[in-house]
């Protein structure tokens, strides 16, 4: 039997498992990005607005990034009081990583705004909060969304690690392949699907980016 037939065979027998692994993978990868994105907006704002927040917060984000993901997954149950098999650990771990990344890009995005444009908005009679949503945030989006692309793609790849601590997602297909003595079909299926998910999600962010920042492409021309 060729490898191709083995793959088809595997899918016909375990199709349902693969499908739920894909859904689980998407869930574990995307929920943290959404949560981190929402949290990164006030934090990024604090970094650019208050000088004293900047250094500690940005240092913290760098430190977080140096913690190995496996170590974090093993540590979190102790900190959160969850069981080691609870997917919540993965959600928290990936939220922390995504947040570390997105706080930086939000702060960079906000810092890169032309100050005279913000001043003009204030001089026109915007109150601070409305101005932030109407002017500051949209103008920071090109940089913020670039950070979001990185966060989405890196989350998709990091979710696979979760299988090592027994949590679902496409990583399970790798562990299954190992357990079966380097049986290729599940490994290959897991690999192809996680690359495909990363590519598709990345493309979706790019499309969203074009949709919400049409002016940025005009300016680049």
């Amino acid at each position: 039997m060729t490898l191709w037939h083995q793959v088809l065979d595997y899918l016909s027998v375990n199709g349902e498992d693969v499908r739920s692994a894909v859904l689980q993978h998407l869930y574990l990868a995307l929920v943290p990005v959404v949560v981190a994105f929402v949290l990164s907006l006030p934090l990024g704002w604090a970094v650019v607005s208050y000088g004293w927040v900047r250094h500690p917060l940005l240092t913290l984000t760098s430190v977080v990034y140096t913690i190995p993901s496996l170590a974090l997954l093993l540590l979190l149950p102790g900190l959160l009081g969850t069981s080691i098999l609870d997917p919540f650990n993965v959600l928290v771990a990936l939220t922390v990583y995504s947040l570390a990344l997105l706080v930086r890009s939000t702060a960079d995005g906000l810092a890169a705004i032309d100050a005279s444009v913000v001043q003009a908005a204030t001089a026109m009679g915007y109150r601070p909060l409305r101005r932030w949503f109407a002017v500051d945030l949209p103008l920071s989006l090109p940089v913020v969304l670039a950070g979001l692309r990185v966060a989405v793609v890196s989350n998709v790849s990091m979710v696979s690690i979760a299988a090592l601590v027994g949590i679902g997602g496409l990583g399970q297909l790798f562990t299954r392949g190992f357990q079966l003595g380097f049986y290729m079909p599940p490994i290959l299926i897991g690999l192809v699907l996680s690359v495909a998910i990363a590519l598709v999600l990345d493309a979706l962010v790019v499309i969203a980016q074009r949709f919400v920042t049409p002016w940025a492409r005009v300016a680049a021309r």
């Binding site: 032309d114 001089a123 009679g125």
Partner: protein, 357 residues
């Protein structure tokens, strides 16, 4: 809308006194220009009007109401604001940029846009440009959008901080002419900041010259500034040629004009050549035709006439009527006489009043 500074002082936290006890009344419905060297507190003074900066002591009043008693956002929506490089919102189309303040004040978006398209045409752009983003316009066009945006809510007061200093001289001249045309229609109370004394003299109904350390050195109409600078600083700042530039404010209409005769006019050996009454040049004794170097009408300034008299090969500026037909000549000597008379009578008035200006 009269804007009054009452011993207004601004000291920044680092100790810099940007504006020092400024007393100044900006008259209603006219263009007042703040001019002076870099760092003398022009921008700071301007921004104390719309509370972008609050004074450390003293007050700023608009129509006798202290601006400090007003809510900043509400106050600012009644005061148009234009800055260098326009400060347009890059993420909004031109028409939405213009509609900003009306939308902020609660005008329905559709209505605000309709009016914004009209305003674009009013400042010399096309409605089609309204659908572009600011990055798709030239610097001069962006500046026009900046003016349209400031005018959109029809504010009685307009503040302009070096609005035309980032564009090339030709465009700047167009924009200045456009502002004067608009102001002729609108009659706003405009405060304009510039460091270009020539711009101040062209645009200002009144000019406030600021000196280092936020001191007001002189506040006067431009012709007075040129004719009688208050001190050495102002004289130095106003620069050379002030006698010559002062002629911009005198009309040519009062000049004595020598008539052009039907049988031919000869000046300094040169004969004026006319074609159906229109001057085409000066013929010299050897039969060569020399150019006229231009003509003037009774509506031009004394400066134009003086310039033409200097350029003319015959030493005489040619006066024409609306149809371009020569009606007379003004010789260099005549111009010089008139200028001397003007200067004598002005200095005599100053001496009688006992005031140095």
């Amino acid at each position: 809308m009269v804007i009054r500074f009452e011993s207004t002082t601004k000291q920044y936290p680092d100790g810099t006194v940007a504006v020092d006890a400024l007393d100044l009344t900006v008259p209603s419905g006219a263009i007042t220009v703040f001019v002076g060297p870099s760092g003398c507190g022009k921008t700071t003074s301007l921004r104390m009007i719309n509370r972008m900066i609050d004074p450390t002591s003293g007050r700023v009043l608009i129509d006798d109401v202290d601006v400090a008693s007003e809510r900043p956002a509400r106050l600012r929506r009644r005061i148009g604001y234009v800055i260098q490089h326009a400060g347009l919102f890059p993420h909004r189309t031109v028409v939405d940029n213009v509609a900003t303040v009306p939308v902020l004040s609660g005008t329905p978006r559709k209505e605000a846009r309709t009016r914004a398209y009209e305003l674009l045409e009013r400042v010399g752009l096309t409605a089609a440009m309204g659908d572009r983003y600011p990055a798709q316009l030239s610097g001069g066009q962006q500046q026009r959008v900046g003016v349209a945006r400031a005018l959109a809510a029809d504010p009685p007061v307009l503040l302009m901080d070096e609005p035309f200093s980032a564009v090339d001289p030709v465009v700047r001249h167009d924009l200045q002419a456009e502002l004067l045309r608009l102001q002729g229609e609108l009659g706003k109370t405009i405060v304009l900041v510039t460091h270009d004394i020539d711009e101040a003299i062209v645009l200002g109904d009144h000019v406030a010259v600021f000196a280092e350390g936020g001191r007001l050195a002189q506040f006067a109409p431009p012709e007075e500034l040129l004719a009688s600078p208050a001190d050495a600083f102002v004289a130095g700042f106003v620069g050379r040629d002030r006698g010559y530039r002062g002629l911009s404010f005198a009309t040519a209409a009062d000049l004595p004009v020598e008539p052009v005769t039907a049988e031919g006019t000869v000046v300094e050996g040169l004969a004026l050549v006319l074609d159906d009454g229109r001057p085409t040049g000066w013929r010299d004794p050897d039969g060569r035709l020399l150019p006229t170097e231009g003509t003037h009408t009774a509506d031009d300034s004394l400066r134009v006439v003086a310039d033409l008299a200097l350029l003319s090969p015959a030493g005489a500026a040619i006066r024409v009527d609306a149809a371009g037909r020569a009606v007379g000549l003004v010789r260099q000597t005549t111009v010089a006489d008139v200028v001397r008379q003007r200067q004598r009578s002005r200095l005599a008035v100053g001496a009688v009043g006992g005031s140095a200006g």
